[in-house]
Symmetry: C2
Amino acid sequence: MDNETVETAEVAASEGSRRSRGAGGGASARRAARVQTGSGQKLAYIRRALPVYEVLDEAGAALIEANADIVLEEIGIEFRDDPEALAMWRAAGADVSGERVRFPKGLCRELLKTAPRSFVQHARNPENSVEIGGNATVFAPVYGPPFVRDLDGVRRYATIEDFRNFVKLAYMAPAIHHSGGTVCEPVDVAVNKRHLDMVHAHMTLSDKPFMGSVTAPERAEDTVAMCRILFGEEFVDQNCVVINLINANSPMTFDGTMLGALKVYARANQACIVTPFILAGAMSPVTVAGTLTQVLAEVLAGAAFTQLCRPGAPVVFGTFASSISMQSGAPTFGTPEPSLVSFGAAQLARRLGLPFRTGGSLCASKVPDAQAAYESANTLNSTLMAGTNFVLHAAGWLEGGLAACYEKFVMDCDQLGAMQALMRGVDLSENGQAMSAIREVGPGSHYLGCQHTQDNFQTAFYRSTIADNNSFEQWSAEGGQRAESRANTLCRRWLDAYAPPPLDPAIAEALAAFVARRKESEPDAFA
Amino acid sequence: MDNETVETAEVAASEGSRRSRGAGGGASARRAARVQTGSGQKLAYIRRALPVYEVLDEAGAALIEANADIVLEEIGIEFRDDPEALAMWRAAGADVSGERVRFPKGLCRELLKTAPRSFVQHARNPENSVEIGGNATVFAPVYGPPFVRDLDGVRRYATIEDFRNFVKLAYMAPAIHHSGGTVCEPVDVAVNKRHLDMVHAHMTLSDKPFMGSVTAPERAEDTVAMCRILFGEEFVDQNCVVINLINANSPMTFDGTMLGALKVYARANQACIVTPFILAGAMSPVTVAGTLTQVLAEVLAGAAFTQLCRPGAPVVFGTFASSISMQSGAPTFGTPEPSLVSFGAAQLARRLGLPFRTGGSLCASKVPDAQAAYESANTLNSTLMAGTNFVLHAAGWLEGGLAACYEKFVMDCDQLGAMQALMRGVDLSENGQAMSAIREVGPGSHYLGCQHTQDNFQTAFYRSTIADNNSFEQWSAEGGQRAESRANTLCRRWLDAYAPPPLDPAIAEALAAFVARRKESEPDAFA
């Protein structure tokens, strides 16, 4: 079964399950509402009922595409420390000079014709499988922080215990659809072995889909080997079971480490998110159009390379857009220019026919304060409006991604639930129109007690798990807590209530044995 | 000169001045960037270069319009305590029974054909005049709070000194285009006299456009009389110089107080914002479509009534959308359903051909914390994306509108500046495309020192006045402040730096004399 077939069959299945969970009313809607209380139940990934928001007109988008073609043809992209990649490009008809690859006009787009427009990433619990592409949106936690801000408000290096905690929290969070990858960097585990503990945690503590290791080709191989234990060898070869973050080393460079991991995953038919990691002004021009041009050129080259590795391998158009303070050089988040990049890149991805990743709940603040929230909300709103399919860093990101914050994780999850409700759009059913209520109540009265209100009481509005909507007096009497204090309480409650999803003991044993064997095979390395 | 002529001439003038201030590059762009540092200079109101976001398709919008027609025809709207209004409706062909007015299909839309699609509200400083309608967006401060959260973190009743402070802050804030109205309720001034002090403060402490008193017809008359002193009698009759908030008493009711003020302003050719004040679930059905239906019906009736008072009088389609917690009955903000109402109502206003008001920086939080910021950012993002023309409550709103918060005012202003930058859209000029930079830098290098970056250094990115983007170490060394502490410092600096705009001494004297005379004419009333 090729990817296209898998895609079609599975998308249809997802559609079906979504319909049965729809928010239109009745018992299923009440169930959907209950899970919003944050009780550890889950929501299916998002099927947007709302349109996407576009900032470029046809001429603007075509101009950026033409400029990206010029970059590919005249400037080219470097593929470093990977002679095999250069040979593959030469064989495909590119002009290779040293490590610089220049692409005849149209070559990358031609190669990308075999990439699926949308695909399913399977979870070991089939109810948690997600579509990536089309009108689907999937939320995944923060990726990469070496530090945590813990539940005692201490900022310190992250440990494997923190890692496991964030996997548990993502499993408990109703509006997180994906377990993510390096939810934090477990610096207490040897560098050459921590990928084993990380992948093992995702596989055993959660049953949501997850991401693989990309820090070395052999770690990617370990990830695929563990996937084969969990899902079966045949299934892994024919289906996407792990998605992987392949960053371009912008500007216009892919390094050997990322290329090595990309080759492993693409050849194993697993998904790569090819992502120019951009602090605009440093890794790309200081303008939105210039940044979009470079992003598109880098993605075209990197994504096309996945198809040289294995035609049909799933690949995502990724972008990570930030800008820098032109005074201090520090990265900034939640500002207007990266939002414009996200909107524009999403549009370019749709025109290219690839699923799209950007955004999340990004901020530069060191604490979960108003700055963190303004910036995160700005990023998340543009991420959703842009029509993003895969949202990494959707929860827990603090301090420019240097720290994973427990309290912010839980606050962000509440916002994700709100976004998921927003994306359902306007219910225009007879119940939604509510003409019976307007007739029943009439001028000068109120709707609190009317039949229609009673009937829709449970599902009418999104219920925040964090917001305090009480009067000042009541709020004061209850201790006058700030949002992050309430988040702290809820986070501790989630961790206390956590129980692992069931896993076949034979598989659990095989995974543990694999990890133990691989750990014994070489000495610890800490750099 | 009728409104249509005024509109056309003045819009052209605004366009011209905007172009000369455009952010495309050069000296004017550098000036624009400097004002973002919050130094008390100002930005012209927004001309959106980005499209609007719509959540209803043609069939959905038409369905809601048809339902609103049914409400108007079969249920009707009450016009209470105003026999004159009932007589006017009867004369216009409506079916009046008691205080209930039922409207033959199409009557309200027919009457609204004389209302301008867009109009200019003049400020005493012509540079600060604003267009309301079309692709313009105008930010005005919070309206109505009886309490303040002051710069010492104390929550207490508002005073006239607070009122004057917020007028000064709105004058200083670069991205606030309007002085607003009841920026807080000065409860230390007699109820029957405080409108005089409020209007006087707007007229003398600021030279931005402002709002008038609506709490009694005679207070509206005082406002118009003061406008005639400030602008000249003839000018006021022919131009909009004050805009006024006329709330419907939802569901489906206008009360005598609001109708009295509406009649004064419309007959004086001044603008009314007819706004159903909705806590959905209490004043409207619990559904988005039902709320939109009722909002449209109420606005159609109220806005059409302005045209009965004076054909051509400027009128704005207003909506204030919130929902209530179905558990406690408390109002909630920044949640998905009110965002959908804002998007939908903006669309209905465009279809009707009226300028649109909604949104702001709304929140339920009692402190300027993460809850306040998440909720405000969600509201503001949807407000802007919806294509709102007049944004009341754009800064300073806290605690469901019960308190005006100094720190949040300054934090919100920073967000407004970011939104204004966002609305400029993508610069696709040759400089914006930045191909020279991409060619100069090439693979594997960086853009920090390249010529293009140097040339665009000042204007490249929006500069936040509040965000701290430094490292954790530097932030800690500088005291580890939260966002609201930085806002506190900035707010004090603005108030210290405030100097009033020049005003013709003869006019100042005449205004003071009018206020004194009117204050002496009756005893103080405190309820």
